[in-house]
Symmetry: C2
Subunit: 321 residues, 2 copies
């Protein structure tokens, strides 16, 4: 993605022409000024009420490597943010894009990265209204996207669960390194449906792995009692297990970057009806009833519901260590 030939790099254009080029690549997902790029701030028309704000970054060497295409990297940057919007039950609004890169970044690589952003913005109806571009040393690339969103219903937070609530997860888990860490679809429609259902008590998206993330949903003095056979193992988790010699379940718990929804449903909910409604509304999105929230008696956060023994997997992906 970098080049020693200056004429192929972004350094050949310089900042002013590069920004004009990026705006051109983005096409219709950049609205006309005053909403769009080109002034000190973007000006957008915001509906009254609760707004949500999120930001996520994507760095070369950390969130993607040379095995991921520039297009998929760009799409991943915005989908990571959309997954956060989904995890509040919200709808996306406006995006700001920051690029930090060495001036030896290949111009055609950047064009494909922006094309991934453009297609994803278009697909999810996101307007990209501004941003910033800044230098890093040669050979480095980071990108940051900030995204606004809107709520039509009260936000589904991480902290709403109670003892007796049932734990669900969408899709399948583990082995995201094979493909899913960039090939996922943010569960926006599912999150919005949960927000209007009235049944959901807490919601988050799985980014660092079930082992690290599930703890966030547990109220004080509570533990998660899990049906181990119902944890939805991805094919990639099983394949990884054959490579690493570790159990597929460990990959499902610890790999991270699943970008699935993890949520709890209130104790009084009629679960069969809830699941039938889900299946009718989202036939392509598997839903797994993986366990229940109960009293924490032994100090361990996760237990096998059948044997009442603590699970060995407690950590997911941790940055900066």
């Amino acid at each position: 993605m970098f080049t020693e030939h200056k004429e192929d790099s972004i350094g050949a254009l310089g900042e002013v022409r590069l920004i004009a080029q990026i705006r051109d690549w983005l096409g219709e997902v950049v609205p006309a000024c005053p909403e769009g790029m080109g002034d000190d701030c973007a000006v957008v028309d915001a509906p009254a009420g609760l707004q949500i704000l999120t930001t996520d970054s994507l760095s070369y060497g950390q969130h993607f490597d040379d095995t991921v295409s520039a297009h998929d990297a760009g799409a991943k940057l915005i989908k990571r943010n959309l997954s956060d919007i989904a995890a509040m039950g919200g709808r996306p609004g406006y995006a700001l894009l920051t690029l930090l890169c060495g001036n030896d970044l290949r111009l055609d690589w950047l064009a494909a990265f922006i094309e991934g952003i453009r297609q994803t913005c278009r697909h999810y109806n996101v307007a990209l209204v501004g941003g910033d571009i800044s230098s890093l040393p040669k050979g480095h690339f980071s990108s940051v996207l900030s995204l606004t969103g809107y709520l039509q219903y009260p936000p589904l937070r991480r902290t709403g669960a109670s003892k007796g609530d049932t734990i669900y997860v969408t899709g399948s888990l583990g082995g995201s390194i094979q493909h899913k860490h960039h090939g996922f679809e943010p569960r926006l429609a599912e999150g919005q449906w949960l927000a209007q259902s009235g049944a959901c008590s807490a919601l988050m998206d799985l980014t660092d792995g079930l082992a690290k993330d599930l703890r966030e949903l547990l109220p004080p003095q509570c533990a998660a009692y899990l049906h181990m056979e119902r944890i939805p193992l991805s094919e990639a988790a099983c394949q990884r297990a054959t490579e690493t010699g570790r159990p597929p379940l460990e990959h499902a718990f610890c790999d991270g970057e699943d970008y699935e929804l993890l949520f709890t449903v209130k104790a009084k909910t009629e679960l069969d009806r809830f699941e039938a409604d889900w299946a009718a509304r989202f036939p392509g999105t598997p839903l797994s009833r993986i366990g229940q929230i109960g009293a924490n008696e032994g100090g361990k956060p996760y237990l096998d519901i059948k044997t009442n023994t603590a699970l060995p997997w407690m950590k997911g992906y941790e940055h900066l260590t």
Copy 2:
């Protein structure tokens, strides 16, 4: 700002404890959840109407170096964004902070950086509601802040000027490298006052230097006719000139990072009255009537109003070249 001793670095804490530590450092400028940190998105109460959005980054080696304290670097990150809000005549709202850093970043350096952000947020009444933290290779540090804001009056854009309008600039220009590039005060009150005055036709903040930025305010087929003796030279510009052997005016035009307001006032305005009102309202903020917008007859954007000759300074700071 980096260390070889892991126990003094952010790597000693790991991501989860580091985020908790940063939240603790930020104190009262992080509102309680749901507004604040700790969920997939921040939830904020947005007034109906026009919202403004901006983002700006601050990278070690590009926007600051070892001569700038961590505290001043943190303050600069948020003040750069506040200057963009000022340049629309708006009021700041909510901020998202992204840190991208090597795990060898010194923890005490980061504490001082965050303290600079905290004090500035507090001073300008900005709530910091979320963010992201991510790794870079050892020895590297970048930060990105995204900021929302509100407009009580129509936005003051860059493109509202007409032939006959008068050009003003606040403060003094040039030599920002000496101190001002981090020691400036964003002109928020001044921008808001301009927005309600009805007299201002176009407004921007000076970030890349008058030579590069003034062009943004010029309508098609127009040029800026400038009173050279009224360009407010900073002491730092004069001092730089003795070091570089170049004219102080060149430094005032080309150095960049002034973070002053550059604006035009409508042709029909009573300028003496406007300036008297300004002086009464902002006795500490010098205002210079530097020129006028007129027809572009020779193709050059900037002319000396007395001699009608083109100015030699056309370029300011350009990134990525």
